[in-house]
Amino acid sequence: MGETVFIQRLKEGQEDAFRELVNRFRVPVYNTVLHLLQDGAEAEDCTQEVFIRVYEHIHRFREEALLSTWMYKIAVRSALEKLRKQKRRSFIQRWIPGFEAAGTEADACYHPGVQTENKEKATRLFRAIARLPEQQQLAFTLIRLQGLSYDETAAVMEKNIKAIESLMSRAKENLQKQLIIYHPKNQTHG
């Protein structure tokens, strides 16, 4: 009931409701896009875009899904759009002679919450996640890094649980393949 009233206030364009929405979802939205974009400044810019989209399209929200699911959907879509743009840009830049890309993989440990003793491993893992196919990257990020359940992830990604399980299994295989280069002794175990 409270949620319905809150959504109604948002639809009416009430300033205090929008402020409350930002306060409630700023951190989860920021962390989701940060994990996907792996860059603090880009993630902040993307988080702002998410809330602007929500403000403009809240009248389309029909309450068939949870507000949080809808927020995650918009966050994920915005981050993926940004990520695709980045990939297109870096692909073009690769063909320009003498051009050096601004971001390098050396600064891959983008998350301030990683503890010092874990930095090396976390950096390797983040790099490997960034190289996963888009859908695997998304499923892994939402479940392992963002802490969403399989059900919630399925709702955000508009897939069934089986598909999410399959994506997670393939993500694990791909990550293991990528990470094994740091452990030559482990290679025989496959």
Binding site: V22, G40, E44, T47, G113, V114, R144, L145, Q176, L179
Partner: protein
């Protein structure tokens, strides 16, 4: 790679303290929105829509011109004969 090593990697990012945006996020967000809506007041639709409408108008214009050309391509002799006939009708003897 064995499960133990893989789990060590997962462990390195588990229970991460959530990151937060820079301070005054809401103030910056509202400022961006206001700036964006000011711009939108000048240009209420996206440029892509404007270009689309312009292209549609040009096509419509071209179609109208083509239609008019088709109608205008009647034999020139006919209109001359019509003119001569009407002249004859006006040329009534005055006696």
């Amino acid at each position: 790679m064995d499960e133990h090593t893989y789990n060590e990697y997962l462990q390195s990012v588990s229970n991460l303290e959530p990151a937060d945006t820079a301070p005054f996020f809401y103030t910056r967000l509202r400022a961006r929105m206001e700036k964006q809506y000011e711009r939108n007041w000048i240009l209420p639709v996206k440029p892509v829509w404007l270009v689309g409408v312009l292209a549609a108008l040009l096509l419509f214009n071209g179609w109208i011109l083509q239609q008019n050309n088709g109608q205008a391509q009647t034999p020139a002799g006919n209109s001359l004969q019509e003119f001569a006939q009407s002249y004859d009708q006006l040329n009534v003897p005055s006696y």
